[in-house]
């Protein structure tokens, strides 16, 4: 078995595609039309284009428990998932310039430094740097 897909529930696939590519810097890999205007939409990291794909999944629009779970995580400030970066402070500065909102500014804790941003599609996303 291999890990190839990590899914993120998003409220709007097109908006999420723009955010994750134009702001966060991911690259679109697969974009297959599905029923009802939905898409099988995956992204990869520019540094690991053969690595795991991020699936932008419209689950909250079609499955109420997914929306309830997503809303609960958002309200509690809990990240849905996290991405590794080399320098959290540098990414924070870059993304703030692009208008991205953070609920947690760069913070050191133990052996990591992290920050939490709002992906504008229903999720908190954590950026992590190993110290």
């Amino acid at each position: 078995m291999r890990v190839t897909i990590i899914s993120i529930p998003v409220l709007d696939q097109e908006k999420a595609l723009r955010f994750y590519t134009e702001k966060l810097g991911f690259i679109k890999k697969l974009d297959t039309p599905l029923d009802g205007g939905n898409r099988w939409l995956t992204l990869v990291s520019p540094e690991a284009q053969d690595g795991p794909e991020l699936l932008l999944e419209p689950a909250p629009l079609h499955f109420e428990p997914s929306k309830v779970f997503q809303d609960a995580l958002m309200e509690a400030g809990i990240p849905y998932t996290q991405f590794d970066v080399d320098d959290v402070q540098k990414e924070y500065n870059r993304l703030i310039e692009l208008g991205v909102e953070f609920s947690v500014k760069p913070t050191e804790m133990g052996t990591v430094k992290f920050a939490v941003l709002n992906d504008t599609c229903g999720n908190n996303i954590q950026l992590v740097q190993n110290l």
Partner: protein, 129 residues
């Protein structure tokens, strides 16, 4: 303050209260990052950081979840991938990142990445074409 931030604050005070230990393991990790191509071992790491090797082993595993040796191997494989992507040969890459035998490097690389170094390189170079 959100629930998440409260939980982080609680965990921080429960798990990360010993700053001296944290400073020590972070320094060792940085040392490995800077010296991964050299002949690193636990004795050398413990001597250069004035910490007993068993204590270092325990602390590194506690804070990073893997041993210094495992971390070193992961770092070398990560750097080997970068080197192969630039088109350097498997042999050149092997020695540049600190491995001493092309045979054992190739086996380890395949175990860690699922691909032999040469196949990995072919795929990477074809992605860029």
């Amino acid at each position: 303050m959100t629930f998440y931030e409260k939980e982080l604050a609680r965990l921080n005070s429960a798990i990360y209260k010993n700053q001296r230990q944290l400073d020590a393991v972070i320094a060792v990790r940085h040392y490995i990052n800077q010296h991964y191509p050299t002949d690193l071992n636990l004795d050398l790491l413990s001597e250069t950081h004035c910490i007993s090797k068993y204590h270092l082993l325990r602390l590194f595993k506690k804070y990073y979840g893997l041993t210094p040796r495992q971390y070193l191997i992961d770092k070398r494989i990560e750097k080997a991938k970068e080197s192969l992507k630039t088109g350097k040969s498997v042999t050149e890459t092997c020695f540049a990142v600190g491995f001493e035998s092309v045979g054992s490097f190739s086996v380890l690389f395949k175990t860690k990445t699922g691909k032999s170094p040469s196949n990995f390189q072919k795929e990477q170079l074809s992605i860029r074409e």
